[in-house]
Amino acid sequence: MTQYIIRRLLQMIPITFGIVTLIFALIHLIPGDPAIQIAGENARPEDVAQVRQQLGLDKPLWEQYVSYLGGLARGDLGTSFRTREAVSKEIWLRYPATIQLAFGGMVVALLVAFPLGILSAIYRSTWIDNVARFFALIGVSMPSFWFGPLLIIAFAIHFQWFPVSGREEGLRSLVLPSLTMGLALAAILTRMIRVSLAEELNQLYFTTALAKGVSRGRAIFVHAMKNAMIPVVTILGLQFGSLLTGAIITEQIFSWPGLGRLLIQSISTRDYPQVQGSILVIALTYIMINLLTDILYGVIDPRIKYD
């Protein structure tokens, strides 16, 4: 097991390296002279020169790359053009808000998907099943940037139960953004749980358990659920990663002060070091979560071999 984890970590190195290189390359993709683009078309030559020097664009490419990697190794993501402070400072300030939102979305998804998916599997081809399947269909087709505004119209403007935007009101602020984030995941999980559990209910060991006098509830929740959970956990892990990127849009809808909003704000102010840093942190978090999912998958399914 330890060997497997170490090997997976080692496999991560080239991929992380590739991503870091890709993000480094991005700033050199800016058409024309990046320094002029960043400083603005009408900037004074000395300002352009300053930007060039700040970004190290006056040095040869390989030297820039090496100093970029060196900076990363020291946790230095550069200096923001806008605040003149370390890029990492703003990121760590915003990071908790994004993680909170992602967890909020996850909790909503689990609260909806488990009851719905389980009922749907037990009462297959009945009206309960049809309702669950219809929900799953709507859930995956409804873009969050539409569902969010609909929630605002209903629950923030009409009923005024929750704030329209921001993060100042604690849990009350978290409800609508979490619902927005959780909908798509809830739909995917409901489908997954339904298919996965329904398959286990058809297995012989399930019938055997019932024949031996195990109650139906126990057979479902203790025997079948354990096996049905394996694919569900994988999807959950992979989707947690996409919750992070989903946060970029949800944060924009609700003016949620997280990493995604920071990214979009930095793009509009052409704060490239901040853009680079934010993208890097989101991407690395995403990769780490996928890695943890892989490892967790191994822990809950003893059938998986580690060689």
Binding site: I15, G18, I27, V140, T245
Partner: protein, 280 residues
């Protein structure tokens, strides 16, 4: 099993029929937008800003006094243009690279697959945001960004299929008869992998339309005054409570379009490759 007729396939496959109907409707509405739109999508009636649906303006007016229905119809053209361009570019690149990787193996395979590993490890929309942030927001840059991330799926799919097909006797036979690699790939291997590619392209079309709307919603896509569903929703968000129709109707358009294409893709899986469903 006897071969089913086309009519039977459609009758027994609700997803396929409903999806095809919605998709055809969307394409027709987009093509006929200049004929169907009741108003010029860029004409501003400032006195009527934000006013709700009326007989003359069935879906109301936006913050600049433009007809929402006309803008949704014209917006369909933008969505479809992005969707089709991305699918065309991404599938061409992906099929070519996937076929090369699968057929020749070795170093070509390693390079292409490692590149796809990196792109897959990166959340797609984030990469698209990064590209557009650097290249600048515009319709063409959205198409470029989505194509750059979109080819990976096709490449992986085609590579896998080519690896399978490559070992079947008829390919060996073609080679033995002296067919060149190019001829074998084009005439013998690719026709056998085309069905899953069609399914992926249909679902990819939905994905591209949604991604364009997302980018435009974030202000990184199509720039005003060109009507785009995502951008309309983004403006509508600022007028929630005052003019809900501005956000509600473009959202319905996006949802129907995406749902139609997803239905079509699902239906095609059953119609083209019944085995695929069972393996899922």
């Amino acid at each position: 099993m006897a071969k089913r007729t086309l009519k039977q396939t459609f009758l027994s496959n609700f997803a396929l029929s409903a999806g095809l109907a919605l998709t055809v409707l969307m394409v027709l509405l987009a093509l006929a937008a200049p004929l169907l739109a009741p108003h010029d999508p860029s004409v501003q009636k400032t006195a009527m800003r934000l006013s709700g649906p009326t007989a003359d303006h069935p879906l109301g007016l936006d913050d600049l006094g433009r007809d929402v229905l006309s803008r949704i119809l014209y917006g369909a053209r933008v969505s479809l243009r992005v969707g089709f361009s991305v699918v065309l570019i991404a599938s061409t690149i992906g099929i070519t690279l996937g076929a090369l990787a699968g057929y020749f193996g070795g170093k070509i395979d390693t390079i292409i697959m490692r590149l796809s590993d990196i792109l897959l490890a990166f959340p797609g929309i984030l990469l698209a945001i990064a590209f557009v942030a650097v290249l600048g927001p515009s319709l063409n840059n959205v198409i470029i960004a989505l194509s750059v991330i979109g080819w990976v799926g096709y490449a992986r799919l085609v590579r896998g299929q080519v690896l399978k097909v490559r070992e079947i006797e008829f390919v060996t036979a073609a080679r033995a008869l002296g067919a060149t690699s190019g001829r074998v790939i084009l005439l013998h291997v690719l026709p056998n992998v085309i069905n899953p590619v069609i399914v992926m392209a249909t679902l990819g079309l939905a994905g591209a339309i949604l991604a364009e709307a997302s980018l435009s919603f974030l202000g990184l896509g199509v720039q005003p005054p060109t009507p785009s569903w995502g951008a309309m929703l983004s403006t509508g968000r600022q007028y929630l409570g005052l003019a809900n129709h501005m956000a509600v109707f473009p959202g319905i358009a996006i949802m129907l379009a995406v749902m139609g294409l997803n239905f079509l893709g699902d239906g095609l899986i059953d119609a083209l490759d019944p085995k695929y469903r069972k393996e899922q």
